[in-house]
Amino acid sequence: MKKSISEKCFDTFNIILMIVIMFITLYPLWYVLVASFSSGIEVTNGNVVWWIKDFETEAYTRIFEDSSIWISYANTIFYSVVGTLLSVVLTSLGAYPLSKKRLRGKKFLTGFILLSMWFTPGTIPMYICLRNLNLLDSRMGILMLGAAQTFYVILMRTYFESIPDSMEEAAKIDGASDFQVFLNVYMPLSVASIVTIALYYFVIRWNSYFWAMIILKDPNKIPLQVLLKKFVVEMTANNSELSKIDYTVTSRETTIFATIVISTIPMIVLYPFIQRFFVKGVMIGAVKG
């Protein structure tokens, strides 16, 4: 079918608009990258716009020398990897029994966890709880917080429910116990969903800072995002020097940019591979709806 002039106009306009949107999305990230390789003076004078000015890697040398960044980087990796494993184990262990129609008390147990989607105890009660459990300033506290998210438990349960009962019955006839059925039949069938949920947990863990900032006092335990938060807030307040390093005003910004780059690169590199899983995750959520 031939397109009318107005349709052609619309298509052109639409393409231009999408290019503008892509530009708005990507430009800030691009800017941080080029600014982190530019000299502090050029950045402070606002001369860096499209491309590196006065190429230098000083900002990176500075942070590579600073042990606090590497310690927090290692902490972030630890919290994200171990935390995600913990989350996946807890979530699937919880979701599997809830997916069985025959389970006595299923309704009660489901309600037991669903309440958390309606009402949260709040920041201070949570803080008091962590204090009572002796989890303040502890790595365990960070791992435990948010280890199970009700939304993903429900997603996982929905997925387990979609696997036909005949799979279980067949394994049971062969003498498998419930635990064996779960481990040898359901888990292998759910790999895609488990990966999806694991990635959601991972991204949340990698990017979160709020509770780590509240409960961790020891600088050797803080994750990267908390360190970055310190930098960022100091940038706003525009006062005092950053940690132990001797920053001049001009190099402070490039140092922050370099830190942003090294903290965000793992996400950006992973992104093309994990994107489709996230799309799938949203869709499962919608289907259950």
Binding site: M18, V49, L109, W118
Partner: protein
């Protein structure tokens, strides 16, 4: 024959023994569930006990239970104090702006993406637009602060080149909400399109074919088929969104606000964080938080009831 005896015996055994038999049969399932349940007890139900602090003068070294009861004093202090109105207003206003500007943006973007003729280009746009969702709030706030900085910020460089005075945006209360909304848009609009894109895929393609035969143009198809087709999704997303009307996360706000912008920037959660964890008025902050939690609960309950009725869908 043998089977018959078993079933008649189980009838005799009565309800209680049946329950016992079922529990024994599924004991491994309960064992699996136990660590998970323990987590909820420790990190969801146990914190509930801390809510009592709202009605007490909680002293960390005395503990919640042994602290002195003060009744509703903390609530009265909050509602008669100067901040109650300000933080409730700010919380609601930010949410209203977000419903007006951020919410429809995802729908419009999804519709525009849907109209793209080249599949490759469409995938490229989608991939790019989801990206900000994966970047941490701290980094995004850092970007906002950098871009708006009065010295090197690109926004001010442009403003200066155009011959205007530089503006230190983050110290001006009148700009805060706009900045916050634009930031949330950048972060979430792209990812928000996914749900509508999947709804668009589900619209019956035969309808479009039939409309083409009847000579309907793209505009007409959009109005008569596409939009009605995704309307249920829009309605449900809107209702869920309205359920969150009293929630603005402290995580983002505390990165961007300064005492000078509290007037427009301070929301309930950031105020709870500041008065509770920075100034250590634990009981007072718990009371404010509890008030917020209850209002939020009511809103979620209402929105859930409505969405169940109109779309047979609920947030469970």
């Amino acid at each position: 024959m043998k089977r018959n005896t078993v079933s008649s015996r189980s009838v005799k055994l009565g309800k209680r023994s049946l329950l016992k038999r079922d529990i024994l049969r599924d004991k491994q399932l309960y064992i699996m569930f136990a660590p998970f349940m323990l987590w909820y007890v420790l990190f969801y139900y146990f914190p509930m006990y801390g809510i009592l602090a709202a009605f007490k003068d909680y002293q960390p070294y005395v503990g919640v239970w042994a602290s002195e009861w003060v009744g509703l004093d903390n609530f009265i202090e909050f509602f008669t104090g100067p901040y109650a109105f300000r933080i409730i207003r700010n919380t609601v206003l930010i949410n209203i702006y977000s419903v007006i500007f951020v919410f429809p943006a995802s729908i419009i973007l999804a519709l525009l993406m849907n109209e793209l003729q080249s599949k490759k280009f469409k995938t490229a746009v989608q991939t790019v637009s989801y990206l900000p969702y994966f970047i941490s709030t701290v980094v995004v706030a850092g970007l906002v602060i950098t871009f708006l900085s009065p010295t090197a910020g690109i926004v001010n460089v442009v403003i200066e080149k155009l011959g205007f005075e530089k503006i230190y945006f983050l110290t001006k209360p009148q700009y805060f909400r706009t900045i916050y909304i634009l930031m949330t848009m950048w972060q979430s609009v792209g990812f928000g399109t996914i749900i509508y894109t999947s709804a668009l895929c589900a619209v019956d393609s035969e309808l479009y074919e039939a409309a083409s035969i009847d000579g309907a143009g793209r505009w007409k198809k959009l109005l008569k088929i596409t939009i009605p087709g995704i309307m249920p999704t829009i309605a449900i997303m809107l209702i869920i969104r309205i359920g969150g009307m009293m929630t603005v996360g402290a995580e983002t706000i505390i990165l961007l606000y300064q005492p000078i912008t509290y007037e427009t920037a301070d929301v309930i959660s950031s105020y709870v964080y500041r008065s509770g964890l920075e100034e250590m008025n634990y009981s007072y902050a718990t009371a404010v938080d509890l008030f917020n939690g209850i209002i939020a609960l009511i809103l979620v309950a209402i929105s859930n009831t409505i969405s169940k009725r109109i779309g047979d869908v609920s947030i469970w």
